[in-house]
Symmetry: C2
């Protein structure tokens, strides 16, 4: 086991994470801290970091270095972005940091900043083609991604803090100031012709976009609080922009979901995002809670544990296995066996019920993770598995899909529709989703029941559908005992009758 | 790590559990199965187990033995109770079991049966003085417990199955049949003068009482599903008795919460419990989900890991530590340090706010377990800790107290009253409870913040209360860095203002 620290020193805030990597290659966040230190504050007149800002940064970095040591983190990777990059005294600051904190702070260029943000997103959001932006305090990185690779990227020297500083005099932005701001943004964007009207979904990183998502969730009573992978439409963003423009600073501070320190820079930040959406002609923004610091981690992880690119091949399977391995059960073999058995059944049943290929992948995630709730309590473990599935770092799933995975796992032990209704995540499912969950969960339940004894003796299954029956034949290795499986299968007959209106008949045969 | 199996072969059902015991002494249930095999069915005419019943039992035991092997359980402890004890062919059956399943099934007498039930209860229910009953298919064991020790016990040869068989001809019990039943029960009980009018709370084990609790919970929309430690009043039991007597078998089968196989024997079972309550003059029954099989485990655990009695000294602390150790964090040292720090603060603040000694114990449980949610996800870990606290096998807490522990832990990271309201467990708290949870959670939060760096450098704290301030002085070991703690403490100032209407001022001093 080892612990590695990553620091992202931005122009507005600094983020610090410690990741624990286990012997088996699984990893998890064990500590995180974020401070709004506003490194770029008052730097733009002379293009120099101020004494006060540098002191604030150093005090915080010192605390982080101290924390890393206390938590037995053996390595620290720290990068600084736009503020340090653009400051005349950036190099002096880096030296000072080294002297006073011991941290080798590296100032990265715009391309690298964009690439690290890309790495954080491509490993945690399941899109192949998109335009990524990372809106910070003093710059915005925009990256065109095709087939999960960077096509082109640019770092533009405008951010939520700097635009506010340049275009706004008092606490509010006047109409004239706003006009100037917009025309400046349009001016800068117009030079990036490779982005014009691309009509790809936008993926957004950074405090501004996260805050907008939070405001939107609160305003519309979104049933859960998760921001990562939340979708924001242009209409909603446009309405929020209207709203923040029409409020005074005091009034903005009262917006539910908007953090206090961001109330003054939200107008310029939202304006920039809105212009970007218009410029690339995007309908939605997908919010990413993962960004540069995650990219730093994946670069490290790739190098030491995976591949040089740092790009995970199948993020859904990778993250599901990571969750499983992190539970420390070591029961990956059983989980994979059940997954294969359930997939075999799914492919036979899917021909009749047409649940589609995406549902197949979701069912596989449910199958991999169906037993993890046992680490909480054996009693009610299917419900606990569901809780873990919605609350773990699973990537490559929409919120609705994550809920489907959870409820398929929960239902596979007979947890009923009442449970779905009572759960916040249940509100993300349609009536059709719920019906499908009930059916698919029986497939998983049957696979589990067949291997109730954990012996992995079933080698092949076949299903025949008649008017009244679902006849499942299981070929198993010679010997062994099927009575315990039969007890559990008997409990599924009722569920089958209810959800499929057919009799479930399981016949055992000995394989050669 | 080792896995041990326990089997309880009763007259109505057979229960099978596998417990995993880790190197560090922590343990958890990893498998359980229950079958209604009705071993005593049709045995009473000749006082012999029937061929069919024995065959059913042997097939199930064979499957359990097989399962134990597949799950790598190295030892099986199996006991048989009343049916085998009372059957003329009991010994033949034991031999047959050994021959055909390899299991050394031991037939225990009534005293031992009562004692094992007592062990299962005394280690999982936080009462010192009570009357325990274990109502099975063919017998009821009644035990008088004083100061957590058995004073006297008896096994009476009447159970839910046997009473039904003896006193009921058809599917329903006629008024006359019921009269005969009641007078028989009263007759048997009247000989046990040591139980008469004891006015102690009853604790009940067995399927009948669990089922009654479930019916009661469903009927009154109890917000959670947990049965262990659920309280059932005489009034409610009486009403349920009325209800089951007035229904036909078909109608009883429709009672929400009543299991299908128990619908025919519930009348006699409820009558027996009701008469027992009247006889000992008890107002309530506390339902225990733990019983004989747990007693078997604790006897084993005591012998090999604890003490010969198998009685855990402090079940609350023991079970909380067990939950913590099972998470595999190995962070018991940090958890205990925070618990001590929080207790020191609690004792200072309690003098002013008078939360009482029981809240002190609850806060300590919250403190011990405040970080376990990190094993689910660092983000939102306080909420996850709360989930784990309400869903883990914590013993010695009422449902309301378990909810308080959970919410103190959740709140200590700023989770708000909305979260409590949205949670099913929140409905168990009164308005006063919620206000107290908010206040006490600040004590825990402050302890955590003081050791934010995980260095355990604070050696002493003192609190002074003025009209406007809560002044906390922290003496810490020389050196070290308090800046990261200060960042977190600053976030608590607002909470302190809101909940205590005072300013929180923390001053650091160096200890000698």
């Amino acid at each position: 086991m080892k612990r590695v620290s990553f620091i992202d020193l931005g122009s507005n805030s600094v983020r610090f994470v410690i990741i624990e990597i286990n012997e088996n290659g699984s990893y998890q966040l064990i500590y995180q801290q974020k401070e709004s230190i506003r490194l770029s504050e008052n730097m733009w007149e002379k293009n120099k970091l101020t004494e006060e800002a540098m002191e604030r940064a150093i005090m915080t970095l010192k605390a982080f270095a101290h924390m890393a040591e206390a938590m037995e983190s053996t390595e620290i990777y720290a990068v600084a972005t736009a503020a340090v990059r653009l400051a005349k005294n950036g190099n002096d600051f880096l030296k000072l940091v080294k002297e006073r904190t011991g941290i080798d702070l590296e100032c990265i260029d715009g391309t690298e900043e964009a690439y690290l943000g890309f790495l954080g997103v491509v490993n945690t959001i399941g899109l192949r083609d998109f335009i990524l932006f990372d809106l910070g305090g003093a710059s915005i990185e925009v990256t065109l991604v095709k087939d999960r690779a960077v096509k082109q990227s640019v770092s533009l020297p405008m951010g939520a803090l700097t635009l506010t500083g340049k275009f706004q005099e008092g606490d509010e932005m006047s109409e004239k100031e706003r006009k100037n701001l917009i025309s400046h943004i349009q001016d800068v964007l117009s030079k990036e012709k490779w982005l014009k009207d691309k009509q790809l979904p936008l993926v957004g990183i950074g405090g501004t976009v996260r805050n907008l998502a939070k405001i939107d969730q609160r305003a519309h009573n979104y049933p859960i609080e998760k921001l990562h992978n939340y979708e924001l439409s242009f209409e909603r963003l446009d309405a929020m922009y209207e709203d923040v423009c029409n409020r005074t600073l005091e009034q903005r501070r009262k917006i539910s979901g908007l953090s206090y320190e961001r109330a003054d820079i939200i107008v310029a930040g939202t304006a920039l995002i809105r212009e970007l959406m218009l410029f690339v002609d995007a309908n939605t923004i997908c919010v990413s809670g993962c960004g540069l610091r995650d990219g730093l981690f994946y670069r490290y992880y790739g190098k030491h544990y995976m591949n040089d690119s740092g790009i995970v091949d199948n993020i859904l399977v990778h993250s599901a296995e990571n969750v499983l391995l992190n539970r420390g059960q070591g029961d990956l073999i059983h989980a994979k066996y059940i997954t294969n058995l359930a997939t075999m059944l799914y492919d036979q049943w899917e021909k009749v019920y047409e649940w589609g290929p995406r549902m197949r992948e979701l069912m596989q995630v449910s199958a991999l993770l169906h037993d993890i709730g046992k680490t909480i309590n054996y009693y009610g473990h299917a419900r606990h598995s569901a809780y873990l599935i919605v609350n773990s770092s699973l990537y490559g799933l929409s919120h609705r899909e994550q809920a489907i995975c959870a409820f398929v796992a929960a239902n596979s032990h007979g947890t009923n529709s009442k449970f779905i209704k009572a759960s916040a995540y249940g509100h993300l499912l349609s009536t059709e989703d719920r019906a499908m969950v009930a059916k698919v969960s029986l497939v998983l339940a049957l696979a589990e029941a067949i291997d109730e004894s954990h012996e992995q003796s079933a080698v092949l299954v076949n299903t025949e559908f008649t008017d009244k029956n679902i006849n499942v034949t299981v070929w198993k290795k010679p010997g062994g005992n099927t009575s315990i499986a039969e007890v559990v299968i008997n409990k599924l007959i009722k569920q089958c009758k209810k959800d499929f209106r057919k009799n479930l008949v399981v016949e055992w045969r000995e394989a050669l």
